[in-house]
């Protein structure tokens, strides 16, 4: 299948639903090893993003991603705003020029998103940041030739869970050094919601 405009809109809406539902959980995770604002910031940003996408009409997935990117950058704040905003902006650029998005194009988009996150945040996989979910997801996408909802959900979930045993190198949790071990990375959890929502959209779209 290919991602159509309606799929992309549903993806953003489902992500927003998960983030609103888990807003307090995300903030609690962040309080444990950060500054406790991740849930609030993501909830504010995705609420605005959905407000934007539901009040606009689109002919391409790229334009949706671009609006999401600009909204997240200007509404989220903290580190998450630039990182998620950059990710969506890079995905938007990678899928530009096509009405719908093939698996191959989407994979390229995720790769570009990761490059953007690395450039902006100067982190790498294993530093206990959202890259710890994005990078395994990219590897999985690269190994497959079509969208597979279950493996997307499973890969993102196990990658998210594995951040618990990792010591933070980047982000505010890095100040805690070994005390950051034993806690999930909040950015990886919100990234899991993002990919789990996409998996749901793919299942419905089959």
């Amino acid at each position: 299948m290919e991602l159509q405009v309606q799929h992309a809109l549903n993806w953003i809406e489902k992500t927003n639903e998960k983030i609103q539902t888990n807003k307090d959980y995300l903030s609690a995770l962040d309080r444990a090893i950060g500054d406790g604002d991740h849930g609030l910031n993501m909830a504010r940003g995705f609420q605005e993003a959905v407000g934007k996408t539901t009040s606009s009409s689109y002919t391409s997935v790229s334009d949706i991603f671009k609006d999401v990117a600009m909204t997240l950058m200007s509404k989220v704040g903290g580190a998450s705003g630039p990182l998620y905003g950059t990710a969506f902006l890079k995905m938007s650029m990678a899928v530009k020029g096509e009405d719908s998005v093939s698996h191959e194009r989407f994979t390229k988009g995720v790769e570009e998103a990761i490059n953007g996150i690395i450039q902006r945040g100067k982190a790498k996989e294993g530093d206990k940041t959202l890259l710890d979910v994005w990078t395994p997801v990219l590897r999985m996408l690269q190994e497959q030739s079509d969208f597979e909802a279950d493996s997307l959900e499973n890969t993102a979930k196990s990658a998210m869970e594995s951040t618990k045993d990792v010591m933070a190198i980047k982000g505010r949790a890095a100040y805690l050094k070994e005390r950051s071990i034993g806690h999930l990375d909040p950015g990886s959890v919100s990234s899991y919601y993002l990919f789990a929502s996409l998996a749901e959209v793919l299942k419905e779209g089959e």
Binding site: R31, D35, D37, L40, V76, A79, R172, A174, Y175, L176
Partner: protein, 331 residues
Amino acid sequence: MKKIINDPNLVVQDMLAGMVAAFPNDLKVVPNTTVVARKDAPVSNKVGLVSGGGSGHEPAHAGYVGQGMLDAAVAGEVFTSPTPDQVYEAIKAVDGGAGVFLVIKNYTGDVMNFEMAAEMAAAEGINVEQVVVNDDVAVEDSSFTTGRRGIAGTVFVHKIAGAKAEAGGSLEEVKAVAEKVVANVRSMGMALSPCTVPAAGEPSFVLADNEMEVGMGIHGEPGIARKEIATADEIAQELTQKVLDDIEFNSGDEVAVMVNGLGSTPEMELFIVNKKVHAMLADRGIKVYKTFVGEYMTSLEMAGCSVSLLKLDEELKELLDAESKAPAFRS
């Protein structure tokens, strides 16, 4: 949660409006932003100074806006970095043609948002330079990690870089003196009780009645060691010693001291800490040129303090003494 607020989601806007109402001749809010600027911004042919960060550190950062200090401060949500578009608005508001200088505290989000704004400004042809303040010795300094946090020592950067810009310094000169301050200022803090972000409604951490957290940051992020509460002398000793160990302080050196309250520690306690800090410096032959005791970089209603030392030379002394009309730092 017990706070004097109207709506947890409006605390920043409400605060900024009230602040500008208190200093109508000195400050203005740039319309439709969370940027507080000098009333007369942009000052033509002067380097514009912009700082900012999450709210909840009052009087930082808007309290340091005024002639001789910052040209604008960008207020983010509580403990959350402001977004690039807001920082960009601040840059545009203070650009008087001589370039704009950004003072950024070393937090992942602040650095990213300010850098994105700098890129936006550069694309518009505005000359932007920056310094990243990382004075907190509680955190290990390493280029492989996020590095040290910026805390109360940042106020010295605002003051000195601001004085340099006010005196007509070029963008390069302002940057050079800001980097000199960053190289010579060190801080360390501790907390006795947590704070509650209004929109979160819950304290950021819990400390037992007999506990303190040493190395606490200014966002309620946990410190480096939790231990039993000690006397003021012991606390001052631990904080000051860690600061003194970090860069070379020699007998005969002159320093500025800042004993900063985090929000709900009375001045009485800050002065008690200051007494010990001065005694320790005297023991080492280090001369105190100027002392600042009070609330300069708070963490909402957190109880606790930080100690900052800035090693001075003639240039820094002169700029520290220069006139400032910023509401929270008059000199």
